[in-house]
Amino acid sequence: MVSPLFPLVVDGATVRRRGKVLVGPVNLTLSAKGTTIVIGPNGAGKTSFLRMLHGIARLAEGSVTWACDAIEARSRQSFVFQQPVMMRRSVMGNLIYPLCLAGLPRAEARGHAALAAADVGLDKMLDRPAHFLSGGERQKLALARALITKPDVLFLDEPCSSLDGRATREIETILMRANAAGTRLVMSTHDMGQARRLATDVLFLLNGKLHESAPAEQFFSGPSTDPARAFLNGDIVE
């Protein structure tokens, strides 16, 4: 089934904070399939860019338009933050929260939550307070909580930035499974290996501007702009 969300059309969208442009103006069209990886140096505006697409950063100019109406669009998206936000509840409590918000009866929500926890390997920890989880487990819980509503698009803001190799691999496995099941991913990362493993297309941000946007193979084999080339080579781009 094709999601009614797409295509997403971003037209001249700009986010400002106290007069300073954080990101934009951005022009972009996003289609329904694939995994978009957002890369760029620190402060390039990756987080603001993702927040802007998700609709939790106020637009100063331009528009971000989904193919369906705004309320439905919001209910079909999820966001995973760089620092996972753990609610002061058990793992189960965290997982059923979005379902309860959607009006699902508690008992039914618990059934879904148990499956979702099993999917990310947290099934033995359902009753544990979420704050007692390790960093990798927290991020897995945040991911499971974001995926439990079966969103059409999932935004991830450097989800693996403080995780070790094994946890990163587990997260990537979950992401690829979600992607195969029809969730479009838009994810920022600093890990070029991860970008190569996951990306179908790449957005390169620099100083708040969308510098380059290309299919992954094309981008990694030969970026068309100098800053992107320098960034891929591991040079410091400012």
């Binding site: 998700h54 939790i56 919001r74 209910s75 999820s78 966001f79 933050f81 936000v85 609610m87 002061r88 509840r89 929260y97 979005p98 918000l101 307070p129 704050h131 007692f132």
Partner: protein, 234 residues
């Protein structure tokens, strides 16, 4: 020093023999203060949460006023409630002056700003944790407040206990609106004031020790029910 020991002995005997007057005024103290606590909490905790999640024009000034009112002088509150409830006042027809209800009203007014202010302080921190997530999940304001109140319940218990502490030891306000009438509106604090005035220090001290024990017992009971010491940091 003699009075202290005598007071302890009195307190001991009053409790051991379950002195009927003591039981009566202790229960009235609990009734007045716990009722005031329940009503004040029902109003103040959601107010604290609302101030945390909602940005409106008068927010800062509301918080500043609330903080200032934490130190509201009970005697003045008592006086104002007295004026409102007295026969010639706007609510005189209800005949509430010199009843436990009047005492509850005064105490609600005294502790409400304190509970709301402490609740707001702790929920503000929780909200800064939750802000992005709950906005991302597209929650309504009511759902945000509900999530804060539920997940911040331990911190809110502290806010309520602070209110309880202020109310159970309060004497000025309830003395004025209650009138310290025997078998009707006499509570532990007003009885202590009376016995001290009469010069019966031992009895006053005895009642004082009962009051302190009561405050500790209620605090402990609430902590045990809330299991604060067993489930980590919230």
């Amino acid at each position: 020093m003699f009075e202290i020991w005598d007071g302890l002995a009195q307190a001991f005997w009053l409790v051991i023999t379950l002195d009927s007057d003591l039981v009566e005024i202790t229960l009235r103290s609990l009734h007045v203060t716990l009722s005031a606590l329940v009503f004040a909490s029902i109003l103040a905790l959601p107010l604290g949460a609302l101030l945390a999640v909602r940005r409106f024009r008068a927010r800062r000034i509301t918080i500043a006023v609330l903080n200032a009112l934490m130190g509201l002088p009970p005697v003045v509150v008592g006086l104002i409630v007295y004026v409102f409830l007295s026969r010639s006042g706007p609510f005189g027809v209800f005949g509430l002056l010199f009843t436990p209800t009047a005492m509850i009203i005064a105490q609600v007014i005294i502790i409400l700003p304190l509970i709301a202010s402490i609740a707001h302080q702790s929920l503000r921190e929780l909200w800064s944790d939750y802000h992005d997530l709950l906005i991302s999940m597209n929650t309504t304001q009511r759902q945000r407040i509900a999530a804060l109140l539920w997940d911040g319940r331990r911190a809110l218990m502290t806010a309520s206990l602070a209110g309880f502490g202020r109310a159970i030891g309060e004497v000025g306000g309830i003395m004025i609106v209650g009138g310290n009438i025997d078998h009707h509106t006499r509570v532990l604090t007003t009885a202590i004031a009376l016995e001290t005035g009469k010069g019966d220090f031992a009895l006053a001290l005895g009642l004082g020790f009962v009051l302190i024990s009561l405050a500790i017992a209620v605090n402990l009971a609430i902590h045990i029910i809330g299991r604060t010491e067993q489930e980590g940091r919230w």
